[in-house]
C-alpha cells in the first residue's frame, strides 16, 4: 500500500480550533438522551487534541447513536445498519492518516453487525469505537436489543424479554488481539471525557462501552444506579485513570484495577450489582492490521509498471 503523498508534506503551522469548529448542527436527540453527553465529550477531545477537522472521520451505522456524524463538523459517514466497522476499516486501510472514530449502538454493533464487531477486535485497526449502549432499540421505537436485561417489556416482548442480555465487554474481552477496553456512563461527564481521551490516545482498536440512558423508552431503567453513587464503581490505577478529588468525593466506591490484567478485567466486568467505570484492559503491544499490511513503499507508476511487467513475463509464451 502506498503512503498518502500528503503525509510527506510538513505543515509549517497548526491552526488552533475552537469547540465550534467541531459542532455540526443542533442535535435532534431527545433531551436527556445519553448521546448528547457523548457528543459533548467528543467535541472537547477534538478541541483539546487539536484534531484537524478535515483529517477526522466519524463513521456510523444506523440507529439513534448513528446520527452522531451529522452533528460533527468533520468528515462523516452515516452508512447502513451494522456495517459501520467494515466501512471504517476500509477508510483506515486506504487512509492511515485520518483519525477514525466509530459510533455504533447496541443493535448496530451487538446484533446485526456482531460478526464485524468480533473481527474488528481481531484486526485491531487504529480507531476509537464508542458503543452507545442504551439497551433498547430507540429509532424503531422500543424493541428489545441484545443487551436488554431479561424480562424487559418492549414492543416485541410485551410479556418481558426471554433471554439474558449479552454483555458487550465480556464478549470483547474474549476475542484475540483485544487491545483497549473501557466502560463509561453518560452521567459522569468528566470520567466519560477521560476515558474517551485515553481511548483516542491508544493506538489500536479502542472499544468503549458507554452505558447510557434512553429517557424516551426506558426512563427508569438506570435510576437505581443514578440514585445511588455507590452502585458505580470507579476503576483507577497508575496505568489507568487517575481520579480527581471532585469525582472521588461523590463516587466513593473505587477499585484499584491494573488494566494490564485481562483476567482481572473479566472478573471486574462480571459484577452485576455495580457498574464498573474506567479502563478495564489495555495492551499497547498488539500490532495494528493496517501496519502489518502496508508495504511502506511509495506506489509510483514505475513501481507498478515493474511489478506488472514481471507478471507478464511469467505468463509469456
Amino acid at each position: 500500500m502506498s503512503i498518502a503523498p500528503t503525509e510527506c508534506l510538513i505543515r509549517l503551522y497548526e491552526d488552533r480550533h475552537q469547540i465550534e469548529d467541531y459542532q455540526g448542527g443542533v442535535p435532534r436527540w431527545c433531551s436527556g438522551c445519553g448521546d448528547n453527553a457523548i457528543l459533548a465529550a467528543v467535541q472537547r477531545i477534538c478541541r483539546d487534541e487539536n484534531l484537524r477537522p478535515e483529517k477526522t472521520m466519524f463513521v456510523s451505522g444506523i440507529g439513534c447513536s448513528s446520527r452522531f456524524p451529522h452533528y460533527m463538523k468533520t468528515y462523516g459517514f452515516h452508512g447502513i445498519h451494522g456495517r459501520a466497522l467494515p466501512v471504517a476499516e476500509g477508510i483506515k486501510m486506504a487512509r492511515p492518516d485520518l483519525n477514525v472514530f466509530v459510533n455504533t449502538g447496541d443493535g448496530d454493533c451487538c446484533s446485526i453487525g456482531a460478526a464485524h464487531w468480533i473481527h474488528a477486535i481481531r484486526y485491531n485497526m487504529n480507531m476509537t469505537v464508542m458503543l452507545h449502549d442504551n439497551q433498547i432499540y430507540g429509532l424503531t421505537k422500543k424493541q428489545a436489543s441484545p443487551t436488554s436485561p431479561i424480562g424487559l417489556k418492549s414492543n416485541t416482548t410485551p410479556h418481558g424479554s426471554y433471554l439474558e442480555g449479552l454483555h458487550p465487554l465480556s464478549v470483547t474481552l474474549g476475542v484475540q488481539n483485544v487491545s483497549f477496553v473501557a466502560q463509561a456512563v453518560d452521567w459522569i461527564p468528566e470520567v466519560l471525557y477521560e476515558i474517551l481521551l485515553a481511548a483516542y490516545q491508544h493506538k489500536g482498536f479502542s472499544f468503549v462501552r458507554i452505558v447510557q440512558r434512553c429517557p424516551e423508552w426506558l426512563p427508569k431503567m438506570l435510576e437505581p444506579f443514578l440514585n445511588d453513587p455507590n452502585r458505580v464503581q470507579l476503576l483507577h490505577h497508575e496505568k489507568g485513570l487517575k481520579l480527581s478529588s471532585a469525582v472521588s468525593k461523590v463516587y466513593r466506591n473505587q477499585l484499584e484495577h491494573d488494566p494490564s490484567s485481562i483476567h482481572r478485567a473479566r472478573e471486574v466486568i462480571s459484577e452485576t450489582d455495580v457498574i464498573p467505570v474506567g479502563i478495564l484492559f489495555q495492551d499497547r503491544s498488539v500490532p495494528c492490521y493496517e501496519d502489518t499490511r502496508h508495504a511502506g513503499h511509495p506506489r509510483t507508476t514505475e513501481y507498478v509498471r515493474a511489478g506488472l511487467e514481471a507478471e507478464f513475463d511469467k505468463f509469456s509464451v
Partner: protein, 634 residues
Amino acid sequence: MNEAMRTEMQRDVNAATQKTTKSVQVLSQHVVEVISDSGEGAQRCGQALGGLAAKMGNGVWTMEIIPAEIRPPARSVAGASGNRIRIGSGRVTNGGDEADLVVAFNEQVLLGRVRSRELRPGCTILLESMWRESPDPAIVKAYVETFAELVSAGFKVVETPMERESRKIMSDPRKGKNMFALGVLASVYSLDLDLARDQIALTFGKKAKSVIDVNVRLFDAGFAWAESNLDFKYSIPAERPTEPQIVVNGNTALALGVLASGMEICAMYPITPATSASHYLSEVFENVGGIVHQAEDEIAACAFAIGASYAGKCTVTITSGPGYSLKQEAIGLAVMGEIPLVVVNVQRGGPSTGQPTKGEQSDLFAAMFGSHGDAPKVVMAVSTLEDCFYSMITARKIAETFNMVVVVLSDAHLAASQQPFRRPEFNESWMAPPIDQSAVPAGMKPYDWDEETGLARRFIPGQPGGMHTLTGLAHDRDSKVAYDTDTNEQTLRLRSLKLAALQKTLKAPPVFGDLEGDLLVVGWGSTRGAIEEAVEGLRKEGHKVSSLHLTFLQPMASGLKEVMSRFAKVMTVENNWSDKLEDKIIDENNRRYAPLAMLLRARYLVDVDCWSEAQGRALKPGFVRKALLKKLQN
C-alpha cells in the same frame, strides 16, 4: 462441425527427430482431453500442451475439467480432473464441441466424459492399461468391461502402458506419467521437441534441476513409445506469433487487470469460482503496493471496499452469485452516496448454492436490478480472456468518472479457460490519479450536481473545507438529510441521469457479419466464441445470419434497435434458463424468456426470441449452430 473443419490432406514427413516414417494427417483443429483422478497431474499435462501449442503459434483454448469435490474417490465417474485443449491453425475462441482425442488415466473418469456426451463418437482414446493387471479383481472386471463397451461403441481405444513405461524411469510413476502422456501427445501432434523441453522446464521451474531432468526423460519416453506404437500422427500447422503473447485464465487476467487499473485494494471473501482471482492477487498485489483483504464475510468485504473507495482509493470486491446477493444493501449505499466501486461477479449456476464450480449467466438481472429502491449502476460483461484484463481498467475509470458502482460480470467458464492474447503494453493512463487533497473552493457543495448530466465532483476526506457527512438517507446538495418529496425525486433524477451521460459516450458494438439479413443473434459474456463460430460456419454455407455481442448491459449503447430492425428475426443465445414452448402450460402469456431477451424486448419493443441452455458447461458451437438453423428455418 469438427468434420467440416477438418482438412483431409495426407503427406509424408521424415523429420530429423523422427526415426519412423508415418503418414501425417494435417488438421485445421483438434480437441484433446487429458483426464485423470484429481491429483494425478492431468491438469499439468493439459496446461503444458496448451502452452506449448501457443508457443508454436497455434490458436489454443484450454478449459479446466474440475470435479465438484476436492478429493473425489479414486476411479470415480464424477471425479474427472484435467483439461480440454482445443488446438487450431487459426484463432480459437472456445472449447469446441466434442473431443477428438482423449488421454485417460483410468476408465472410470473416462466413462464420466462419455456419459456427458463430451466425446466425438468413434474418437481416439489413449487409455492407461495398468488396470488390466490390477491385483483387485473388481478393478480388472470394471476395466475389461468398460474397454469392451467402448470398443463396441466404435471408439478407437489404444491401450497405453503409461504407468509401466514410467516406472522404468521413476519409482513413483503416479507422479510422473503426466509427462509421459505429454510425450505421447507431442508425437501425435508433431510438436516441436525443443520447445516442449523448455515448456517442461517452465512447468517445473520452481523445482530442482533433477526434477526437471526426470520429467524430460519421461517426456522423451512417451514420445518414443508413441512413435513406435501408434499408427497415426497429426499436424496442426501454425505460424509463430509476431507479437509477444501471454496465456492466463480468466480469473488471473482479471487479477492482472486489477494490478494494471491503479486500484490498490481488493476486499473479498472466499467463494467459488471467483476466489482463484484473489489467490493470484494475494500472491502478487503487494509487489506493486496493493493489498488483498480477506474480510469476515461478503457484506464486510463490500463495506470495506466502499470505505476505502470513499476515502479516495477506488476499490474492487470480487465475488460469485451468493456473495453478490449478500452485498446488495451495501451496493445500494454506494449508489446513494455516489461512491465509486468496482464489483466483479464471476457467475456460477444458481439459484442458492446451485452449481458452484459450473458457469451460467443467470445473475444478469441481479446485477442490473439488485438492491432495493431505484439504484442505477453500470453493468458490463467480459467475453474474452483479453477482456477480463482490460475490463478492470475501464471499470475503475467509469466508477471514478461517474461516481458509480460498476458491476463486471464474468463466469466460471471464462474463469477456468485459457487463450493466448497479445501481451498488454503498459500505459500510464491506466493508473489512478493521486488523491485530491486540495482545499475545496469556497461555496462548493458536497453534491454540486450538474443539472444536465447528474455529475458532481466528490469531496474526499482530508480536503480542507469539504467536511460533510455522507449518508445513505435521501439528501440534498449539502449532504443534509432531506425528508421533502421534491429533493427525493430530484436526486433520483440526477443519479439516473448519470447512466444516460455514460450511455452518450458508448458506441454500438460492431456487427459480426453483414449489417442485414435473416437472423441476428445477440449475446453477452463468455458465449461469444461459440456464437461467432456458429455464425461464421453458417455464413460460409450461405445463411444470412449475423451476431452482436454486448459489453455494456446497463446502459445499452444507442443504435441497437436500428441494427435489430435490419434483420427479419432476432434471437438471443444465452447460458441461462428460459421457458420452453414445448412445455404444455407454457405460452406467450407466461413464458419467461432468457434475461437478455427480456431486456431487449422491454427496452426496444422488438420481438426477440431466445435460445438458451443451462447445463453448467460452456455453450458448444455445434449446439448453437443447430439452434440457429432451426430458427432460420422456422
